[in-house]
Point group: C2
Chain length 445, copies 2
Amino acid sequence: MTTPTRRLAHLISASSPSDLPPHVVHEAKRSILNWLGAALGGCRDESVHLALSALSEFTGPPHATVIGRATRVDALNAALVNGISSNILDFDDCHARVVVHPAASIACALLALSQTRPVRGIDFLHALVLGVEVECRLLDPRTAQYKFAWSPTTTVAGMGAAAACARALRLTEQQIAWALGIAATQASGLRETGGSMSKALNAGHSAHCGLSAALLAARGFTGSESALEGVNGFIVAFGDPGDMEALVDAWGSNWHIELNTYKAFPCGIVTHPAIDACLELHRQGIRPAEIASVQLTVHPVAVRLTGRENPAAPLEAKLSVAHCAAAALTRGKVTVREFDPDAIADPQVSRLRRATRAAINEAYAIDEAQVEVTLADGRTIRKHVDHPVGSLERPLSDGQLEEKLRALSEGVLTDAQVNALIAAVWSLDRAENADVLADACQALR
Amino acid sequence: MTTPTRRLAHLISASSPSDLPPHVVHEAKRSILNWLGAALGGCRDESVHLALSALSEFTGPPHATVIGRATRVDALNAALVNGISSNILDFDDCHARVVVHPAASIACALLALSQTRPVRGIDFLHALVLGVEVECRLLDPRTAQYKFAWSPTTTVAGMGAAAACARALRLTEQQIAWALGIAATQASGLRETGGSMSKALNAGHSAHCGLSAALLAARGFTGSESALEGVNGFIVAFGDPGDMEALVDAWGSNWHIELNTYKAFPCGIVTHPAIDACLELHRQGIRPAEIASVQLTVHPVAVRLTGRENPAAPLEAKLSVAHCAAAALTRGKVTVREFDPDAIADPQVSRLRRATRAAINEAYAIDEAQVEVTLADGRTIRKHVDHPVGSLERPLSDGQLEEKLRALSEGVLTDAQVNALIAAVWSLDRAENADVLADACQALR
């Protein structure tokens, strides 16, 4: 009897970089560029500093890069700490169909692994594509319906990272099944973490779990071979099972990474259409001082996830659509700085945030929003957004992704380092050893 | 507004060793004795060897004991590896009311911690009592009903370990709440792992997560302060919420560790009443060769968890009530050796296993069983057990716990070492530094 877990392991084991069309390899590079930008922007955050200081006394041989820092730690701790950096700004990638930010945990695990074992550049890209594929298939609504309390990105990230590392380690089908099984029983991640540092820790923890699952399985440490679909397995525990065929069907005809998108704003993805509309109103010349009130109309999940009306701290402001809208209308841009404490306390932003209401429209798509501002003179002006910038319909270009990385690397890497890093990403498929990537994002101090 | 998570953190922070009556301190020592026995018996298992070899290249400064081995590793990895040793034999403790094996993850985390920070013996015991309290209150049926697919011991073990380590580190109420929050979002553990090494890894992973949660919180790394009861928190994610008051009510009037029991047989606890009945039949002189068939009557959960009819490997045999019964009837004892491959392959055991059927009686208590053997001459003999040896009603004595540890330490520690270890446990409340415990279970080779 071949279980779905085992069948998935077989597909991973039998997959080859040559199965990937050039545009898929290119999208994997774009995912890496975006991930590194987010991580370089986040790497000097207090959360990363605290994690490093807590873990430093336990770290093993310093083989692995801490992104954007001069420090090295052991590979497992590097995967963990880099995962925090990758997520702390909320500047992730985002799959356009399945609600998941797929790259961070997988890429952090692979980056650390590539500094302990030789991994060719094309194998790094291939492994990333496979990891994203596993995550998205697990979250496919055909596979299961999961409870809302679970942070979907986090719950599947360890299995994505395990699959990717298992492939990069060239494990056998049996070992890959074990790696998936070990990662499945360590799957975790609560949405309740939103607003605390432990939300970003989720990404690092998953990277750590996925990498260690693959390393354990490589030695012969056994996991359940029905860990995904079994009656007491991942899917039953986390949700209501659907059709397990969705885990494996039509494998290779398309790759989920083709549907990956990259955030234009460093905050919850569901706030993006409202931000986009507010920025357009600002571009049209509407000044914050003339605005009396703001009425947002959004998808229900946008209110559920980002309904915070009075964010007190940066990590909360990133999950407050009212703050995002107020900042966009006031400042005409939404960068990392719009979530700084002084931006949260800015009197104009505060006033507009209090004057903002968010209503639900059940008929809206999740990336749809409308903003109606009422001016002091009584006029109302409306802006509707179908798809925000950064969505699949209005994607960031390669150049915009480079610019995003450049802006986020400011004060972390030198210009020469950033240029070298960008070049390393675009040429990764031709690199003999993928550790060039880790070397290129190590800071000088 | 004080959240239940925060109230629990307050109770932990305000608790003092002087709150514990002597019999509670004594039960904590009994729990430690049992845990160390199980870990010393398990520490030479292949799973422990594989985990150590996979993790050795990443381990930090060797400050912490690997139980029953000469090796030392960093404290986080020690917590992980010792957790595997503690669980791999299925020789745990077992709470008599809540389905949980509480001590292993908590004690492994504390043991490792005590080798990095000074922890007084009485504080180690106090922290263990608090950790068990947190686990059992989370699993209290009044708090929530959880999905069966979750391994209850595992899901709460990280939070128990985090609470214990947080108290041993003398964290503030705020930090304890963060530690609980960090551990909650890393809570995991699937029953599907049964039969694979990853079941034992669950215990180690939880110890690792709980210890690191406390260490992170100690530095100021933040977790959600509503991680347990929030709408997207632990209890909602893992089950159906009940009354959150159960997390904190009647605190200190009794302690859950008072209801801890210790297994007499190294296998799933739900098999124990049937084993006990079979051993009694063997004592009555019934020889395996005369038995034609065996009819077990057990609680439904016993079949659900241990219904395996044809176990192929030791870890599966421990979850096969048919194997347990057959081994007891054949050999008149159920020790670690009755789960060795040669015991599984033993023709007489095999024959009786195939001749054993397990029926469910919905009216049975979980620790109740009946065995009816039909002999070759047509006679039937019946034995009913209300509570097996090792249960709260028929507990192992202090002397029996010492004997259990002695038997399990054979070939691992010298007699002198075992004597010193037992003495260290009984005098732990008077020890200036709890690291005597870790030193005492380090092997010479």
